[in-house]
């Protein structure tokens, strides 16, 4: 039964109809969570004992950085799915996620730079964390332009998927860079093993912004995947009916 469910869902047509059904719900829930937590975080949390008000940019920076890495992992998983089972929808996901991943990485880099000016006293330093995140951003751009340089979609999808899997090696490097080397960037506040080193009054809105941002980005990915389906399957009769 599970196999049948996956097979059905992996068909672009079913996917499209399911997206239309749940899109509104996902969008409005995550928008509400995001707006609620960003207002809570920006206006109703106390100042930090070292950084004062400037710590508040983390309510933008942390979700964006978290997403920039998660989206790459999502791309890698989709790539593997496409390469092993030749699921077309997975290939659509890979190229649909890439520009959104680039966008979140860009937000992470810019908000990090803005955060750096009042706290570190510099907006850019070539430390391991910052440099590896810049590499991630350039990798996203490279993957997009690689896919664009092919006129044959199947070739483009295959090559893109292989390259995404090779590039996935950068993700653990970004994650562990602050532990392996000395960096200007502080080490992780929220880890799986230890108690968070952020006080709960600041932590709860942060978790809210992460969840809200995550939901909004998922909505973007759904729209972007829908676009891919329209582009690739434009000659199918059901797409013509749908449009």
């Amino acid at each position: 039964m599970i196999k049948k469910f996956i097979h059905q869902f992996a068909s672009p047509k079913t996917f499209l109809l399911q997206v239309d059904k749940f899109y509104g719900l996902i969008f409005f829930t995550s928008l509400c969570i995001y707006i609620f937590s960003i207002i809570w975080g920006l206006l109703f949390t106390p100042e930090d004992f070292v950084q004062g008000n400037s710590f508040r940019i983390m309510y933008l920076h942390v979700p964006a950085s978290f997403l920039s890495q998660s989206l790459y992992i999502a791309m890698a998983v989709s790539s593997a799915t496409y390469l092993i089972w030749r699921v077309k929808l997975a290939a659509y996901f890979v190229i649909a996620i890439a520009p959104i991943g680039a966008m979140t990485t860009f937000i992470a880099l810019v908000s990090g730079s803005i955060w750096g000016i009042p706290t570190w006293g510099t907006w850019w330093q070539w430390d391991a964390r910052i440099t590896s995140t810049l590499i991630l951003f350039i990798m996203y751009l490279g993957l997009i332009s690689l896919h664009n340089s092919f006129s044959n979609y199947e070739k483009a999808d295959k090559l893109l998927s292989w390259l995404v899997i090779v590039g996935a090696v950068n993700i653990p490097i970004i994650k562990k860079s602050v532990d392996w080397w000395t960096t200007l960037h502080q080490s992780a506040s929220i880890t799986l093993t230890n108690k968070p080193s952020i006080d709960p009054v600041m932590l709860y809105p942060l978790i809210g912004t992460i969840i809200g941002f995550f939901g909004l980005i998922i909505c973007l990915i759904l729209i972007s995947s829908k676009n891919q389906i329209f582009i690739r399957e434009k000659n199918k009769s059901w797409v013509k009916d749908y449009v």
């Binding site: 930090d48 004992f49 950084q51 706290t119 006293g121 899997i165 000395t182 200007l184 952020i198 600041m202």
Partner: protein
């Protein structure tokens, strides 16, 4: 699972293995060159030419900050070794005693003449009222 899919999984694992080992070897050979700054202990065990710009990081030693007009001098410590720093300029707002700092400058006579001072903050966030409670 049929044999073609098994072969594809095998290929993907191989690619992942090769890319990890390739990048791993690069990182291993670069080793401490990827470090952003030297600690005072590393500085002690190294001979650094006078004209080479270096970064030294650690904590500002308590009671070591002295200001004479625009000049500021302090001691960076990693609680094992320490090194004195002299700097002429504006320090970032977060610069204070017993907090993280990274300086860029030249080493001369066991003393760092800094051109730039950056503050490093840690991963702890809490309201100021709670900080006072914790300290007591």
């Amino acid at each position: 699972m049929n044999s073609i899919r098994k072969k594809r999984i095998y290929n993907i694992c191989l690619v992942i293995l090769f890319s990890i080992s390739g990048v791993g070897l690069i990182l291993y050979s670069l080793n401490s060159n990827l470090d952003y700054f030297f600690t005072p202990t590393e500085l002690k065990n190294k001979t650094i030419p006078v004209d080479k710009r270096i970064k030294v990081g650690g904590m500002v030693l308590k009671g070591s900050v002295e200001r004479i007009s625009s000049k500021v001098s302090f001691t960076i410590t990693d609680y094992e070794n320490s090194v004195n720093v002299e700097y002429d300029g504006i320090v970032p707002d977060l610069f204070k005693e017993e907090s993280g700092v990274v300086v860029l400058g030249y080493l001369k006579n066991q003393m760092v003449f800094a051109e730039e001072v950056l503050a490093k903050h840690d991963e702890n966030y809490m309201p100021p009222s709670l900080k006072i409670v914790n300290d007591n």
